[in-house]
């Protein structure tokens, strides 16, 4: 099993490496799909065991554990919602084939999600506006690029987002496409906030509360924006909906906050968290491929899915 785990992990990393644009969630789904394709399981239980083990292996990699967990959970649930008569079939291969076709559909659907989000968001852009964003988010990047292509002019302020300076990556990507952008210190968020017109954030996970888990520093930005009456828009694909209910910062599950290697080896007291939780009252709207939602709607969606 250990060998399998490593193999799964490396496959996952390969998928991630092959396509720069792909999100961690989608990559994990593709990994699971590959496992499903290769699967030789003969019962549904066996298959779900296999998938669960694979999901665990994926979570042990150092990538965003929130996205991975939510994507895997959704994938498993998605494909297993098979009509009852099909499950009774003695021949498991038909079931497997059915699952595979479902998986295909799912992946196809998810691949389009960023475009859908970008379309949802387009009417909210105003010409000559100042936009603040945090760290590096592929969804936000795609939205901004599409808006620029549509001819809207705006100036983007990106926070540096330490400890890994992922904001710089975002800045480079934006500048490459000709969007005026400025790098802003994390500590300077309060200082620039009065000039901003709106804030765009990505999310690593969307919680049942309607709040989000995102790179550390998001909460500061959201609180400042709320005080100064600036709207905060979150962009997240539907695969990022997680079935968790954090009550406050301390209640975030440890495997979201820290990378898995850190959990295994280091003393967590001394470790800096990588993410923080932004409660729903600081978020104006959430853009997903399912449409534009208020934070209150997210909880409903999750209830509909998981019951």
């Amino acid at each position: 099993m250990f060998a399998d785990k490593d193999a799964i992990g490396s496959e996952f990393k390969k998928i991630l490496g092959s396509d720069v644009e792909i999100s961690t969630g989608l990559a994990s789904i593709k990994t699971l799909y590959n496992i499903l394709n290769r699967s030789t399981a003969t019962t549904a239980k066996e298959l779900s065991e296999e998938l669960r083990a694979a999901a665990e292996a994926l979570e042990e990699t150092d990538y965003s554990s929130t996205s991975i967990r939510s994507a895997c959970e959704l994938f498993t649930r998605f494909i297993s919602l098979a009509p009852a008569d099909l499950l009774d079939d003695k021949d498991f291969t038909t079931v497997l084939n059915f699952y595979r076709s479902r998986g295909d559909l799912f992946i196809e659907r998810i691949a389009k999600s960023r475009t859908l989000i970008s379309d949802c968001c387009r009417p909210f852009f105003k010409n000559n506006s100042n936009i603040l964003t945090h760290s590096y988010s592929k969804v936000v990047l795609k939205t901004l690029l599409d808006a620029r292509e549509a001819g809207i002019w705006f100036h983007v302020y990106v926070t540096e987002s330490q400890p890994d300076s992922s904001g710089r990556k975002m800045l480079l990507a934006l500048r490459e496409k000709g969007i005026h952008s400025t790098l802003v210190l994390d500590a300077a968020v309060g200082y620039v906030m009065e000039r901003m017109d709106m804030c765009f954030l990505g999310a690593e996970g969307v919680m049942e509360t309607g709040g989000i888990i995102n790179k550390i520093g998001t909460l500061n930005l959201a609180v400042c924006a709320k005080y100064m009456n600036k709207p905060v828009y979150v962009m997240a694909e539907s695969i990022k909906f997680v079935k968790e209910y954090p009550l406050n910062q301390a209640d975030i599950p440890a495997d979201f906050k820290y990378s898995s290697t850190a959990i295994k080896s280091k003393d967590l007291q001394a470790e800096h968290p990588q993410v923080d939780y932004t409660p729903p009252q600081f978020i104006t709207l959430i853009f997903t491929d399912l449409g534009i939602m208020t934070p209150a709607a997210v909880g409903e969606e999750l209830i509909k899915l998981y019951t």
Partner: protein, 388 residues
């Protein structure tokens, strides 16, 4: 002599009439896009004429609607506009030429775009067009698909969407019939919504309440709501009026500047809404924002009355594009001095953010602002909204 004269006159008349008709047919052909030379058989020609005539009817209906809009100088209750639009749309459905659902939707969309292009500030028209589109889809699919929940995407329906592609399209005739029926249902709902809203008044307004209302003279929904609420109850009503508006029955008139001061006495604020957006923010007559801010400061609940046709499925992020400015009301002496140098601001509407509103009172139920999006699925279809 006389006899021959009358015959010549009659013949001339006939020729004249024929030529006029021919000319008309020619015009009709031009509009429809077909040339008379290609028409060979009498029957197809008849069809084309019919088409053209219907097309003209639709165009005239639209023109009439737009002319009526242009005639208005002040904001009228939306109900009239909604009924007019619905009548026009009914005409489109009745007289339009289409063979299946897609063509019908295209036709509706085209007309809708013309209307909203002419008057982007009247969102009710846009809402109704989208509503009729959804009803068209419904009437198309009603037979084939038994279950009938919200067409909007949900996580657990991500795979079901694909199944709907292999639906059998109904014939245009059945669509038309069902659609007209549905449109009539909507009409009835619109006509009764005022009463339903008023009926909720008695639950929302209690004894000894002090209410602040705004734009009482322009909103019939608001006045009937108040009338229903005040029955057998002792309430005091402060009505925020500008001095030039007509005075009102039972309410004490106060001006907008006094609202912030009077808010300490008030227990409830009731406003009428022009349009409601899915996140719970709404467009209300100008002056509403000041009242809501003062109410927020004093923790006074704000109720906004909105009929179902005012709930829009789309967002308008740039409110200045949608807010219509009404005619300036300055005396002539001012106008002569200021002409061209001073802009007099007289917006008709204002955007009120969702966090200032406590409850939306609609004809079906009272809704919290954060739950408006749920109603959207009842009335609109996502594809229509996306493509508009």
């Amino acid at each position: 002599m006389n006899h021959r004269f009358t015959i010549t006159v009659a013949r001339a008349a006939v020729i004249f009439v024929k030529s006029v008709l021919m000319h008309r047919e020619f015009l009709v052909f031009k509009q429809v896009g077909k040339s008379p030379e290609t028409m060979t058989t009498a029957s197809t020609r008849q069809e084309v004429i019919e088409e053209g005539r219907k097309h003209l009817l639709i165009e005239e209906g639209r023109k009439q609607l737009l002319i009526n809009l242009r005639r208005r100088t002040t904001r009228e209750p939306s109900f009239k506009l909604a009924t007019d639009t619905l009548n026009f749309l009914r005409k489109v459905v009745l007289h339009g030429t289409y063979n299946n659902l897609e063509e019908l939707l295209a036709l509706l969309r085209e007309n809708g775009l013309i209307l909203s292009g002419a008057y982007p500030s009247e969102l009710v028209m846009r809402n109704l067009v989208l509503m009729v589109c959804k009803l068209a889809r419904e009437s198309n699919s009603r037979e084939t698909n038994g279950e009938f929940d919200s067409p909007y995407d949900s996580l657990n329906k991500l795979w079901k969407k694909e199944d709907k592609e292999n639906q059998i399209g109904r014939s245009a005739k059945t669509i038309r019939k069902k659609l007209i029926q549905a449109v009539n249902d909507i009409q009835i709902e619109m006509e009764t919504c005022r009463e339903h809203i008023s009926a909720q008044g008695q639950y929302l307004v209690h004894m000894n309440d002090v209410l602040i209302v705004h734009s009482l003279s322009t909103s019939t929904t608001l006045s009937s709501f108040l009338a229903g609420a005040k029955k057998d109850k002792k309430t005091r009503v402060f009505s925020v009026q500008i001095p030039t508006e007509p005075d009102d029955h039972d309410a004490v008139s106060i001006s907008l500047c006094e609202v912030a001061g009077k808010m300490c006495e008030a227990t409830k604020v009731i406003l009428s809404g022009a349009t409601v957006f899915p996140d719970g923010s709404c467009l209300a007559p100008a002056g509403g924002l000041s009242i809501c801010l003062a109410a927020h400061r004093h923790s006074v609940p704000v109720y906004v009355l909105c009929a179902f046709y005012k709930i829009a499925p789309f967002f308008v992020p740039d409110s200045s594009a949608v807010i219509k400015h009404s005619l300036p009301g300055l005396p002539v002496a001012m106008a002569s001095k200021w002409a061209g140098r001073v802009r007099v601001l007289q917006p008709a509407l204002e955007m009120i953010p969702a966090n200032l509103i406590t409850l939306f009172v609609s004809n079906t139920a009272s809704i919290m602002p954060s739950h408006i999006y749920r109603l959207i699925g009842d009335y609109y279809h996502p594809d229509d909204v996306a493509n508009y």
